[in-house]
C-alpha cells in the first residue's frame, strides 16, 4: 500500500510537469516563431513477483506472471515543429520560413544559434540583426541609401538604390536544416542550439533540400492552438485529482490498518 502512495505521487508529479509545459505554451501563444512542447510520459519499471513459465510444482507451470508497476515518469518534452500561421506585417526585413529550416544568428560568444523568428531589423551599421541585436549569419549589410530591399524566395537579398534602374545583389540568406529538429535545445529568446540528438546544422540556400523558402513581409505566428492547450489543462488537472484520491484512499486504508491494534 505504501507503493500505492508512491505510485500516486509519481502521477501527481508528472501531471504537475505537464501543466508547467502547457502553461508555457499558453504564455507564448503570441510569440513569433514559437513551437509548442508536449510532455511525454512512460511507465516506470515493474516489480515481477512471479515469472510466467516458472514451475509452481513438479507438474504445474505458472501460465501468467504477477507484476506490479511503480508509477509514471516524464521521459521528455517533445517539440511540435508544425509551422505557425503566416502574419502579414509589411515590414521589408520581416521574414517567414515556409519549410523546416532555421535562421542562423551569431551569439555574443561567437557560437551559432538558430531561430524561426524572422523579425530582423537593421542595426547602426545597417546590418540585419534579430530583435535582441544578434546578427544574421552570413552577415547582410544594407547600404544606407537603399530605397527598397527585396528578399526573394530563394534568399537572395537585393537593394534598390537612388539613381539606379536595377537592384544590386547585396547578400544571400542561408537557412540551417537539422536531421532531427525535435532534438534542438531551446535557449530562450526564441533561439535553439544544436545537440547530439539534433545533429549538426547543414547551411543551405533557401529552396534547396527541404530547407524551405523565405517569404518577405510576413512573420510566422506561434503554433500553439489555445483550445488544445485548454483541453490539455483540464485533462491534467483531472488526472492530478484522481491521483490525489489514490493518496487519500491509501492513507485511509493505512490508518484503518494501524487502528487494528
Amino acid at each position: 500500500m505504501i507503493r500505492a502512495l508512491f505510485n500516486a505521487a509519481t502521477g501527481m508529479k508528472a501531471q504537475q510537469l505537464r501543466i508547467d509545459v502547457t502553461s508555457n505554451n499558453l504564455a507564448n501563444v503570441n510569440t513569433t516563431g514559437f513551437k509548442r512542447s508536449r510532455a511525454e510520459f512512460e511507465d516506470l519499471l515493474y516489480q515481477t513477483m512471479r515469472i510466467p513459465g516458472a514451475e509452481s510444482s513438479q507438474q504445474a507451470v505458472i501460465p501468467n506472471g504477477l507484476q506490479v508497476g511503480q508509477g509514471v515518469r516524464v521521459v521528455g518534452t517533445a517539440r511540435d515543429l508544425a509551422n505557425g500561421e503566416a502574419i502579414s506585417t509589411n515590414v521589408p526585413t520581416d521574414m517567414m520560413i515556409r519549410g523546416a529550416g532555421f535562421f542562423p544568428v551569431i551569439q555574443p560568444d561567437g557560437e551559432l544559434a538558430f531561430t524561426r523568428d524572422g523579425s530582423f531589423r537593421l542595426n547602426a551599421e545597417g546590418q540585419l540583426v534579430n530583435v535582441d541585436g544578434l546578427p544574421l549569419q552570413p552577415a547582410i549589410v544594407i547600404p544606407q541609401d537603399t530605397v527598397q530591399i527585396t528578399i526573394a524566395d530563394d534568399g537572395t537579398v537585393t537593394a534598390l538604390r537612388p539613381g539606379r534602374t536595377n537592384a544590386d545583389l547585396i547578400g544571400q540568406i542561408q537557412l540551417a536544416r537539422f536531421s532531427n529538429p525535435g532534438g534542438l535545445r531551446a535557449l530562450g529568446g526564441n533561439l535553439y542550439a544544436p545537440t547530439r540528438s539534433s545533429g549538426d546544422p547543414q547551411l543551405l540556400n533557401p529552396g534547396t533540400e527541404g530547407a524551405g523558402n523565405v517569404t518577405q513581409g510576413f512573420l510566422e505566428g506561434s503554433n500553439v492552438a489555445v483550445v488544445n492547450e485548454m483541453v490539455d489543462l483540464i485533462v491534467s488537472q483531472r488526472a492530478y485529482d484522481m491521483n490525489s484520491k489514490v493518496v487519500q484512499a491509501a492513507d485511509e486504508m493505512l490508518k484503518s490498518a494501524t487502528g487494528l491494534r
Binding site: 500516486a8 536531421s179 484512499a249
Partner: protein
Amino acid sequence: MSDGLFVAASAAVARQHELDVVSNNLANVSTDGFQELRVSFESVLADPYNTETNSQIYVAPTHTATSQQNGPIKQTGGNLDVAISGRGYFGVEAAGQQTLYTRSGRFTVNDSGQLATASGHLVLGKSGPISGLNGTVRIEKDGRIFNNEVEVGALQLYDFNEPEKLQRHGHLLFESGPQQAAKEIDGELVPGALEGSNVNAVMAMVELVRVQRSFESAKKAIDTYRDMDRRLQHNVAD
C-alpha cells in the same frame, strides 16, 4: 485464536495489492501507449488434502494481465507519430539483440538518422532498424517510411497468441516471455496520431472505491474475530 482471522487478513492484504495495481494505472492515465494492468485473485485452500472438514479458504493474487482494449486515437500532427489501429505491437531493439514490443508509436530520429523511441531504443522495420532519416520524414498508413519522398524502409507489426500475458519492462515496453513467440502481421497504422492510455479513468476510480470499501469489510471481519476471541477469553476466565 480463530483461523478466520487469517482468512480476513489475507483479504485485506489482497486489497492492498489491488490498490498498488490501480494506483499504477491511474498514475498512467495520460501516458500515451500505456495499457492497463489488471490483477486476478484466486482462492487458496489452506489444507487441500483435508476433505473431511471445511478447510479454510484464503485469497491470494495469482497473476496480472494486460488489458488489450484499444486506447483513444489522438491526432497530434507529428510526422513521426504513429498509432496502431487494432491489434499488434511495434518491435524495438533492446540491449543484447533482444526484441521488445511496444504500442507506443511516439518515435524520434536519433543522431545517426535512425528511427528510435523516446527512450532511445531503435525501432525495427521489415529488415532491421530503419536508418537514413536525415530529411523530411513521412510515414504511410501501411508502415512505409519515406525520407525526402524516397522510401527507406517499412515498420513491422508483431502480434501474439495471448498478448495479455506479455511481461512488462517499463518504458512502455513488453517482453514476449518464454511461452509465446511473436508473429509478424500486416496491421493498419494511423500516421500523425498517438494511441492514448487505455486506462478508463471512471472505471479506475470505481475500482478505487471498491478496493477501499472491500478493505474496510475485511477489516470489520478482523475486528469481529478479535471481539469474539476477547469475549471467549473473558467468559472462560469467569
